[in-house]
């Protein structure tokens, strides 16, 4: 029997299958010291133990049987099971905008992988049309799978390839681009893409899902429909993130790529604009902008692409009792840039001073951001801040720490000159630093406060 017939089985489990001449997709009757079982042998997850055989019962349930307890297996038949998303050819309507969907992996569209028991991406216009037919009401869709990586595995190679593919898409004349992306590092990619693809004439919309599309309550379909609306019909020609607004199925929010952050490990409404208000709301009625300082859609095909990227940049999340040898080690290893997330207005402890001075004197570019996420680095306020600036540390205003990291990679890819790097870092491309923080840019409600409870009770969130 072929290797595929033992898929995922090792050790005792595999030996049991071999002993009785059965394999994956065999219909079997199993005799064991724990009684009789009847079902279909399924592949085993490679991360599971080697001591059990997985059986799918007629009821659809799966169970595991201890391989050691098995005294006999009779094969009663074989089934060839194929997992397939129903495919339907995506209809083309000349009156609808053309949208290019670029896939990077993640769970925007996915199916189950028997090998790992996890969900893997599945992706083509016809597959998508089969599972989200509403897309055809919104746009003509073309898809292209760029990578098949989970978002934590996105890196410089992917960023550059993505930026170049977006540029090519713009040149091809599409009306909007949607990028399917895992959510964990979506805001990192959104930031770097904002720096690499400047002044695009069309919307570039990043989208993902917090509940995978293999479940009925998934946010994937609604996010995808909203993203297609934004890309095909929206007037915001910027890199934006399009994800659930509230946890309820109500509307999506469009976030500027440089001001957005994933704020909860599992909530649907995890993406929030930090220190500012979002760009727009989007639902089946279209895109409703919340501000007017966005770059509008243009008819031309001009775009500035700058894919510079320096990889030797790191990030220091300061904690009390941080020791200087950490900083020394970073310098010794040849890093050229450090983004510090400091406490409060942008502070670190005194014992680090000498190490930081050694770093800046060695030509390492050091920028300060705030762990509080909301608010500015205002290092002139306290003595500590002034001292730290004396060390050659540059405050990065209200740039989010992850955004500052991405921007420093990009800036150091272009120059090693201290003043030039500072100029690049502190000249906003797209609101990564802002002059003003609106009074409603910081809203973190507290439960149980009467007026918040009233809000939760009367307005679904």
């Amino acid at each position: 029997m072929s290797e595929a017939a033992r898929k995922g089985y090792r050790g005792v489990g595999r030996a049991a299958l071999e002993r009785f001449g059965v394999g994956v997709w065999s219909d079997v009757e199993v005799a064991s010291t724990g009684g009789q079982f009847k079902g279909l042998i399924l592949p085993r997850s490679e991360t599971a133990d080697d001591k059990h055989i997985v059986l799918k019962l007629d009821s659809g349930y799966n169970i595991g049987i201890a391989a050691e307890s098995i005294t006999g297996i009779i094969e009663t038949g074989r089934r060839d099971v194929q997992y397939k998303i129903p495919e339907k050819e995506f209809p083309v309507d000349p009156n609808k905008p053309n949208v290019l969907l670029l896939g990077t992996g993640g769970t925007i569209a996915s199916r189950l992988d028997y090998r790992t028991g996890a969900v893997i991406p599945a992706f083509s216009p016809s597959e998508l049309y089969g599972s989200v037919p509403e897309l055809a009401d919104v746009c003509n869709l073309r898809t292209e799978k760029l990578f098949g990586v989970f978002s934590e595995n996105m890196g410089p190679t992917e960023y550059v390839a993505l930026a170049n593919r977006v540029a090519a898409g713009i040149e091809e004349g599409v009306d909007g681009i949607v990028i399917g992306h895992g959510t964990d590092t979506m805001h990192h990619t959104a930031a770097i893409l904002t720096f690499m693809v400047q002044d695009p004439p069309i919307p570039i919309v990043m989208v993902g899902s917090q509940r995978s599309s293999d479940r009925p309550s998934s946010d994937a379909a609604i996010n995808l429909i909203n993203a297609a609306w934004t890309a095909g019909h929206g007037n915001i020609a910027e890199v934006v993130v399009c994800m659930f607004g509230p946890t309820s199925d109500q509307y999506g929010i469009l976030h500027r790529g440089t001001r957005v952050r994933k704020m909860h490990s599992s909530y649907r409404s995890t993406f929030r604009t930090i220190g500012d208000i979002p760009l727009a709301l989007v639902d089946s009625d279209g895109v409703r902008t919340l501000r007017d300082d966005y770059c509008p859609r243009r008819a031309d095909r001009n775009v500035t692409i700058n894919t510079a990227f320096e990889q030797r940049v790191t990030f220091l999340y300061y904690y009390p009792n941080m020791k200087p040898d950490i900083v020394d080690a970073i310098v010794d290893r040849g890093y050229r840039g450090i983004v510090i997330a400091g406490t409060g207005l942008g502070h670190i402890n005194r014992p680090l001073y000498d190490a930081v001075r050694r770093a800046t004197e060695a030509g390492v570019h050091v920028f300060m951001t705030v762990q509080t996420l909301w608010g500015y680095t205002q290092m002139y306020v306290y003595e500590t801040g002034r001292e730290i600036m004396e060390l050659g540390v540059t405050p990065a205003a209200n740039m989010l720490p992850e955004v500052a990291y991405m921007k420093l990679c990009w800036a150091l890819g272009q120059s090693d000159d201290r003043d030039e790097v500072r100029r690049i870092m502190l000249t906003p491309v797209s609101d990564e630093t802002t002059e003003r923080e609106p009074y409603n840019g910081y809203l973190v409600f507290q439960g149980a406060v009467p007026e918040v409870q009233e809000f939760l009770r009367t307005i679904k969130r």
Binding site: H52, D58, Y83, L112, R211, R215, S217, R457
Partner: protein, 659 residues
């Protein structure tokens, strides 16, 4: 066609055998755990209060084997807005599907394994959590997490055995508040409670057998003392089929006595649907030859006085007419008690097209109380239909009536095949209504959030060592003790049977007295608003020990239990509370002289009061004394001494009473 089915009360087992009735049960039982199954929310707190709402929609997904589930597709047509009411005390982010599951509650697994062993099931080596899709919104995730713990067991019944197919451990679903039009409102307090589902083979042959087997399974669960009781804590689904019919699942029957009539009505419905199929075949109408059409008839009926359509037209809605060629005179056929075939269509329109306001259809077989005769004539003329055709009218919004027309055609086509595979809901009058298309194995999907969990042999051995006696064996044993029959079932069900055995075997307490206290007295206290589940077996044992030592009379046992329950004690102070009570009694143990003093006292206190006779006087004084002694002295002893003091002799009062 004539309705040849006998009324419910005249049906015999032979009648059911003749139609080939087969039925099975799915018994759901909440487990008594401290927390919910997949999160750390407290279990067993229920209430209608809520402090926030979440809105969701459900989309069908593909199963592991790549098929869309039929139910899933049906639910998609309904396009419901599902509103979840949530209260911070009972729900966390897990229930509203914003957080992945935590590892399942281990005590729930233990209890489920214990019941699996009692049912003689083969226990799985590894528990695989599955997602069972529910697109009706009853679970915010769109699926229920569930896992099989055992398969293929049996329980004895009469002179045969009833097969148990499987036992699964799962999370409970939401409670429905309302379902009107496209808006469904659900409460989430019950959501996530650990629940087991015991599925029997279709081995029952009559409605009564269903009720009896259900009772056995329920008793078996309760005999562990580790399951929840009370309304909704145990619910069953009833599966019914007849020869030539289809396995139909009737969901959510809370009370066992309601099962027989439900089974009868479903058997009757299936027979009626098969007869209708045969009649259609006689008329040469099959799934291949069936012909139907629908058209907008709003203008034709625009001036009707029939109120429901009048209101619809006034509200700007449309009226559509479905013509079913050759279906005349079938829609009034009786399918269940007081229910006609037309309801099959009305139900589909209600559930799938969301036209929930009743009546939602009218038809040409029951034309008299709806449209005027000339309206029906005009409808026949304008739809080019004849006397042999049936017309069904629906009204509502354009998309909903469109869905309704299609569903009516689908249901009519199914009528040519017999009994469609539905999941049905139990109605209060013993009939059932359409709930959704019967889901298949396709709706099962492995849960990718949690890895398989090994059921260790050591764990099974530990549970096996502590299994309660099998409930049917225990019942047989108690019957031999000639205890009151009503106490036998209650003892086994309330989980105090082990205590009962200790009391009667170790302490030699009278069996009937022990049984009555452990069942009827505790029940009486519950009715007074006390919670006897607060009393641990050891507390009660201590009370009976005092009784066995002669320190506490029978009345005393009752009073001490009542007082121990009524006296607020610190958590976990149950035993010491009772112990304190007992110490007080021991300290106040009265000798005959003290009792005589008390008797003299009450007699002199009542001096001057007029009694019609000495018996009344005796009864009055006895009442006073019982209250004073509060159970510290055996009532019979006081009775005798009082009688002596009143000089009516031992038992004199009773003798006079009889006279």
């Amino acid at each position: 066609m004539t309705d040849a089915f006998k009324p419910f009360d005249q049906m015999t087992p032979e009648d059911y055998a003749a139609i080939g009735l087969r039925c099975g049960l799915e018994v759901h039982q909440q487990l008594l755990t401290g927390r919910k199954l997949f999160c750390r929310c407290p279990a067993g707190r229920f209430g209608d209060e809520y402090d926030a709402e979440v809105l969701r929609h459900m989309r069908p997904t593909l199963s592991e084997l790549g098929e869309y589930d039929g139910t899933a597709l049906m639910e998609r047509k309904t396009k419901k807005n599902i509103h979840y009411r949530i209260h911070h005390a009972t729900v966390c982010t897990y229930e509203i599907d914003d957080t992945p599951p935590f590892f399942p509650d281990q005590s729930a697994i233990d209890i489920a394994l214990e019941i699996s062993l009692l049912l003689g099931l083969n226990i799985v080596g590894e528990m695989h959590i599955a997602r069972k899709q529910y697109l009706d919104g009853s679970i915010p995730a769109g699926f229920q997490r569930t896992a099989i713990l055992g398969v293929t067991g049996s329980i004895p019944y009469k002179d045969r055995t009833i097969g148990i197919r499987q036992l699964s451990l799962e999370e409970d679903s939401c409670r429905e508040v309302s379902d009107v039009g496209h808006e469904r409102v659900l409460l989430t307090d019950r959501l996530g409670m650990p629940l087991i589902e015991v599925v029997t083979e279709p081995d029952m042959r009559t409605p009564d057998e269903m009720a009896e087997v259900c009772q056995i399974v329920r008793m078996l669960c309760r005999s562990t003392g580790k399951v929840r009781t009370g309304y909704g804590a145990a619910r069953q689904d009833v599966n019914v089929s007849v020869n030539g019919g289809t396995r139909i699942e009737i969901k959510g029957v809370p009370q066992i006595p309601r099962i027989p009539l439900l089974v009868y009505n479903e058997a009757r419905r299936q027979c009626a649907l098969l007869a209708i199929r045969d009649e259609l075949a006689k008329r040469s109408i099959t799934a291949d030859t069936i012909r139907w059409k629908s058209q907008d008839v709003t203008r034709i009926v625009a001036r009707t006085h029939y109120q429901p359509i009048r209101e619809a037209v006034d509200a700007g809605h449309v009226v559509k007419c479905v013509v079913l060629d050759g279906f005349a005179d079938l829609l009034n056929e009786t399918t269940q008690e007081h229910t006609a075939f037309a309801k099959e269509f009305s139900d589909r329109v209600r559930v799938i097209a969301c036209l929930t306001r009743q009546p939602n259809i009218i038809h040409s077989d029951a034309s008299s109380e709806t449209l005027a005769v000339r309206d029906w004539k005009e409808l026949h003329r304008r739809t080019k239909s004849g006397e042999g055709d049936a017309l069904i009218l629906v009204w509502g919004s354009e998309p909903d009536t469109e869905t309704a027309c299609h569903e009516i055609a689908i249901r009519a086509t199914e009528a040519t095949r017999g009994v469609p595979a539905d999941t049905r809901q139990a109605l209060k009058d013993g009939t059932n209504g359409f709930e959704r298309v019967l889901p298949g194995a396709e709706r099962m999907y492995p849960d990718t959030d949690l890895p398989p969990m090994v059921i260790e042999e050591a764990r099974l051995a530990r549970i096996r060592a502590q299994l309660p006696e099998l409930v049917w064996e225990r019942e047989a044993r108690y019957r031999k003790l000639s205890m009151p029959e009503e106490t036998i079932a209650a003892l086994c069900a309330r989980g105090r049977a082990d205590l009962f055995d200790r009391l009667t075997n170790d302490l030699g307490v009278d069996t009937t007295f022990a049984a009555v206290i452990l069942t009827q007295w505790l029940k009486a206290l519950r009715r007074r608003g006390l919670d006897p589940s607060d009393l641990r077996d050891d507390d009660l044992f201590a009370v009976f020990e005092a009784h066995a030592r002669g320190e506490l009379g029978r009345e005393g046992v009752r009073l001490v239990i009542a007082r121990a329950l009524a006296t607020p004690t610190e958590v976990d102070q149950g035993v010491s509370g009772v112990a304190a009570e007992l110490r007080e009694i021991a300290g106040n143990a009265m000798d005959d002289r003290e009792i005589e003093n008390r008797i003299d006292h009450v007699i002199s206190a009542a001096d001057g009061a007029l009694f019609p006779d000495v018996v009344t006087k005796h009864r009055f004084l006895m009442g006073r004394l019982v209250r004073q002694f509060a159970g510290r002295v055996d009532g019979a002893r006081v009775d005798t001494m009082l009688a002596a003091a009143l000089d009516i002799g031992k038992g004199g009062a009773r003798r006079e009473l009889r006279a």
